[in-house]
Amino acid sequence: MNKEIYDALAKIVGGEYVSNKPEELFFYSRDQGSSEPHNPDIVVLPKTTEEVQKIVILANQEKIPIVPMGGSLTLAGLCIPHKGGIVLDLKRMNRILEINEISRYALIEAGVSEGALQSYLNKNYPKLMHSIPDAPPINTIAGNVLIHGSGHLSQETGFHSEMLNGIEVVLPTGEVCNVGSCAVVPKWFARPPLPDLAGLFLGWHGSTGIITKLSIRLYPKPLKKDVLVFVTENPDYIPDVIYKVTETKMAEDVNLFAQPKPDWAEGFQQTVINITGNSEEEMSFKRRLIRRSLEKFIHDKEGGFMFIVPIVKKGFLEAPLRALTQFADVMKGGGFEYIGVIIPIENFPQTYRDTLEIAKKYRPKWSIMCRVIGRGHSMMFAYSWPFNRANSEDVQMARKALKESNLSALRNGGVIWKACVEGQKIMMEQMDPNTLNLLKGIKRFLDPNNIMNPGNWEVN
């Protein structure tokens, strides 16, 4: 990329916030996942929407690829600049602009991290919370919303994209556009009843525009929380376990994990049921209803509640769950694939069995982590393959495991979540042709020069 472009970008954001130094390009060329790294030409860190707009206009004019980046923690290579160009790191856009206590929403910039909003609310609005994904706190809220992430309130309220009230987006041609109630009135409280344009940007991995602001829903923060862990040894029971627990409407969050370590976890499915409340009476009532909902399994001796010692319970009650991030480096070397599939709940048993087969074949260390979405309408089924990045053979094995997991997920009736480029291709191969054409048309309409995160959702 020529010096004029560099200088123009420096003029927009200031010299300190643009770089083409090899050591910085190195870091922006990869994530912790197994995707092949690729250097950007320039990294730029804007502070305002206006700066983003100017950068996009320049990139569009010069037909330079541009890759928006939040925390770069998708682990699926979604922020890797496969075709070079500009990586637009949004972390400086980290202002919390408004907390509406009555309508319960937070208006934030795209670079605000989960941890920053969580601590801001804890300090200033202790009665409010947002849904926290089990990712490192540095991951950005915008990024997580855009990949249809999920978190501790997703069982009750759905994917994080469903908790989105509105966005400000810079289109690939440079226009700044508001979506949601904020498009009509200066309040960011809902997307309905307008035509819902948010879908033009959700799940597109930054290939249709750059989100610069967003409003997400906040929720009342209960005073008490507790966790129950229901243990089974037969995956065939899980759909029914989830059905019965969600039927009570008493659980705030329902997860499931299965892994070979520690020893006591191997061979079991642990369904983790979080409950919250404002008094011990309420908690006790909820505990009893949930326990009763699973009585049949207990009576048949096929499932039961684990006794959790306090120190372990503290770990289960953390948000985000630190144990997951610790697991990420279990192989050492910093490699970690944590991707998965969104499945209908009845497909759990087969998906589980196939994942274990893949694990047996490729990965000595593995973990399955699932989250029930929206009172049991679907499930995020994630498989984690940690690997040693310093060992190329291990990286190759992780890639094979990933590919096989993706194929198996589709075979089992699931849809790959935050799919890497390879995963997107696999899905597009079996996508309804009319849907594919619609994707293509939208992409062409919004991004005529194909500058936005090229490689992603590229319909040939």
Partner: protein
């Protein structure tokens, strides 16, 4: 496999059937108890096998020391009538499975087994203790908890190696050949269960409360009477070694703690509810816990004192909700001898 020393003729000639009549969970009158006992002696199916909550109390109620509870567990396992759901039992079996990675470590007398409870180590300090040697871990875990799961076989399988580890790694080269057992369950293993099944124990188990009492006696000049009312949560495994119960009163007397008269204490003590939860008997657990705590509150106690960490894990938070302070016995004693006022047991909540 070692067989239980159980004399059928003693039960057959028993007149009181205390083991079953006194059981507060089965609710059997003398005639029904007699009938069920007859079935048990013959090894037949009985509601005792399915409904036993594994509180261990019948071991205490039997006037002849004929091990009625150990026999129930033997029969449960033989017939595949397990008190807890299979995944919970199997998970528990894995959870404290020996690692085989332990090795010899130099010890000084007294040698204290802390079972598998690391929290206990934090309390072994201050004026009362003179830096005793202690150890813990899966390779030294007595495994008696599997009585709650109808799995004597696990204890039988693991105990010889556990005893061998304790002897070889901790006691063989020590002076006294005594093992101070922090947890009632460990003491009960070596003093009650192992002899009942003819397992040889080469060391002398000493109940932690005996050791604690002696330490208090030696430090009597440092004791500041607590002048407080307490409730004691008697652990299930103490039912296997009821001759050791007096230490509780002896200790309370030394430190000026008043063990209040209440309904659910001593022989009438209630299970903490933890094993019942694991067995899936939630309503019963809930009911027992409620009654037990209401009884403590009605007696006007300041503290609920535990010796079993598992009981503390189960009830600690619940008593605290009712403004009763949970504390381990060792820490209550340290309140009387050390300047740790207000400091609670660490790591149990």
């Amino acid at each position: 496999m070692n067989k239980l020393r159980f004399d059928e003729t003693i039960c057959a000639s028993c007149k009181s059937y205390d083991c079953l009549v006194k059981c507060r969970y089965l609710n059997l009158d003398l005639e029904k108890a007699k009938d069920e006992k007859r079935k048990l002696i013959k090894g037949e199916d009985s509601i005792v096998l399915t409904d036993c909550v594994t509180c261990y109390s019948c071991e205490e109620y039997c006037p002849y020391g004929n091990h009625p509870f150990y026999q129930i567990v033997e029969l449960q396992e033989a017939k595949g009538i397990y008190p807890a759901p299979k995944p919970i039992t199997n998970q528990q079996i894995k959870m404290v499975s020996p690692t085989g990675k332990s090795a010899y470590e130099e010890m000084r007398d007294p040698v204290i087994s802390l079972c598998v409870f690391p929290e206990a180590k934090k309390s072994l300090r201050g004026n009362l203790f003179n830096d005793p040697s202690s150890f813990l871990g899966k390779d030294y875990f007595c495994n008696l908890m599997y009585l709650h799961f109808g799995k004597s076989s696990i204890i039988k399988e693991r105990l010889p190696k556990i005893i061998e580890n304790i002897w070889a790694h901790k006691l063989d080269k020590s002076e006294s050949k005594e093992l101070v057992c922090y947890h009632d369950e460990c003491y009960a293993t070596y003093a009650s269960w192992a002899p009942a099944f003819d397992f040889e124990v080469p060391f002398k188990p000493v109940h932690f409360f005996e050791y604690l009492y002696n330490r208090l006696k030696e430090n009597v000049k440092n004791i500041k009477a607590l002048n407080t009312k307490i409730a004691y949560q008697r652990p299930c495994s103490n039912r296997l070694i009821s001759d050791q119960q007096h230490w509780v009163d002896d200790i309370f007397e030394l430190i000026g703690a008043q063990r209040v008269e209440r309904e659910f204490d001593r022989e009438n003590a209630l299970c903490c509810g933890g094993p019942l939860r694991m067995q899936g008997r939630d309503d019963l657990a809930h009911d027992l816990q409620r009654k037990n705590i209401e009884d403590m509150v009605a007696a006007g106690v300041e503290w609920c004192v535990f010796n079993c960490p598992f009981c503390y894990y189960t009830l600690g938070g619940m008593v605290k909700e009712k403004k009763v302070k949970p504390i381990m016995m060792i820490d209550l004693c340290r309140l009387a001898t050390d300047d740790i006022k207000g400091k609670r047991s660490e790591g149990y909540e």
